[in-house]
Amino acid sequence: MRDLFYDLVRRNGMAVSIYLMLAVSLWVFILIILPQLTMLDYSFRFNLPPAKIGGPEDVYTLEQYRYFFQGSGASDGLNTLDIGILFKTLLAAVFVTVFDLIICYPVAFVLAKSSTGAKARLLVLALIVPYWINEILRAFAFRILFGATGVINETGMGLGLWDTPIDFIRQDVALYAGLAYAYILLMIFPLYNAIESLDRNQIEAARDMGANWWQVHAKVVIPYAKPGIASGMTMVFMLTSGALAAPQILGGPSNLWFTQLVYQWFNSGGNWPRGSAYAMVLLIVCIALVLLVMRLFKVSIGEIKQ
């Protein structure tokens, strides 16, 4: 630590080094690590009224986690409702991630390899523009699109494909479409960056040696773009499973997203320790899943970038 500081001072001078150290430690400790630790600590406590905090009853407990697994019943029954919601959320997030990968890969490839100069820049701009529209408004747009009187139902019924309005909201179609839409950009850019740096000659060489288009992608482009694919998928997966706005607006009345459970414990439930425990469960499960998949595909977290 001391050596590090001396090294910084030698290179940047005293004033700048102090700024660097201060800013970085403020961020890392005050904003990132300590709050997470406090939340972890909080998740192991009982939900006490403010007056009793720090008192004799304020002891560590596994009660909040037990609740997640077993529910309110003292018996050994499983809390199938909450665990089910977690599984459903993760499954849906995986589905959305894969869907995004499938629709974004061709776009990233065309952008990176076929377009040049002004045209490519314009396409990139066209990709970014929808991303600057507020998340809430994007979800709202899907609500209009998929509603009982929405454009999709009107068109479908107008063409005679179905004759009663299909309830896309309750079936979660709107939710998946909206979530996939929300994070498209986070999939495209890592893919685009990865594919763009691939030497075009490699593709030509593969073609010359008789590879068809499928083999070119499977044997050349995809292995090369693996870090980009990994970071895109990680980002989309983490953001989808942690999404709150889209499920609140587009989710069916009976289908909850796991973050909505956290939200409920915090707001209407008034139980912060339990909310913290649920948030920890979400965080740990998501990270474990991402690390597992990365291990399977042999990519390291250091390769993740935007």
Binding site: R11, W27, M39, S114, L145, A148, P165, L282
Partner: protein, 386 residues
Amino acid sequence: MKMKSPTALIPGLYLTLFFAYLFGPLIIMVITAFNSSTFPRVSPWECFTTDWFGKLASDDKLLSGLGNSLLIGVGVVCVAIPIGLAAAITLSQVGPKLRAALYTIFIAPILVPGVVIGLSTLIFWDRIGTLFNAPYESFFYDGTFLTIFGQVTFIAAYSMLVFLSRIQRFDTTLTEAALDMGATPTQAFVKVLLPFMAPAIGSATVLAFLASLENYNTTVFTIVSSSTFTTVLSSKVRYGLDPSISAVAVIIIAITLIGAIIYECRNRYYTKGWAHVIAERPALKIATHPGTVAVILGALTLAAVLFIQNHDSSVCTAQVLEEKRALQQQLMEQQSINTPQQAVPAPTMPNLGPLGGDEGGGSAPSPFGNNIFSPENLGTSAPEGN
């Protein structure tokens, strides 16, 4: 001329479909902002109206939320940019092992769900507040401060990424040259490195401000009893779909488009090829200057605002209401004739459909009214079915 083979068209077709998915929902939303129907929809089209914008201007909650959002945005920029810059510089100067460890910590806030960041910020400052016995009015419990802290946690990481991609192209021999010529390390930092980073500081500021403005997941926890533009918008959407939300979207999309157009014009204007073209044509030079474009777009915006303020659709809406009332009357008469048969009235009445469809909010006029003739659209209590 050679005909393109059909397979060569596939990428273009695919891109078209893709951008339809990207822009379709936004376009539909924009259209609904101009329909006088009280439920945001494209069909049936009732009247072209700009009243929904007027409704926005008098929405105090939304406006005060916008004020808070702008304040928070400025606060976030002021804290996140110095932190992101420091983090990027530190990363560029430490050894590879420490760099990998630091990078993982720095990048983590982007991957951690926003909900978790919001929660942990809220709990942490609450604890600190309790520790110091701070009164409830102190900043430990203040939504604006908490939101700034919460948002900086991950927005600093965004700006760090922007700085990192710039600093990778920095030629360190420049700093060495400055040092050799007698500059102190601090002077070298201020006069060499900072100016080099200036463009990145500009783009990181825009990015940070926009990210702050549109954040919901973290803000909804840290804002406590206050509100921001996004949280107000979200409660509006959840408690009742209303075309004035589409009107908000129109405004935001317009601002985004104007920004994008000016940005693109600026880029084109300063390319080498264009410099040759306009070198001997002063008129074209002025016409394509980004400033000119900005003025034209500003004038168009002003015209649009004036149009919105002065457009009066009351005649048309009154007429539509009258038509509905007449039809309602007709239906009721028909009903009183058919009373014994107690049938679903008239073919114009749609089946009730899934009631869960659009109910989201209480003010949604009709979950089953995909035509203007449904009684709910009158806004008066009408007798139901039989």
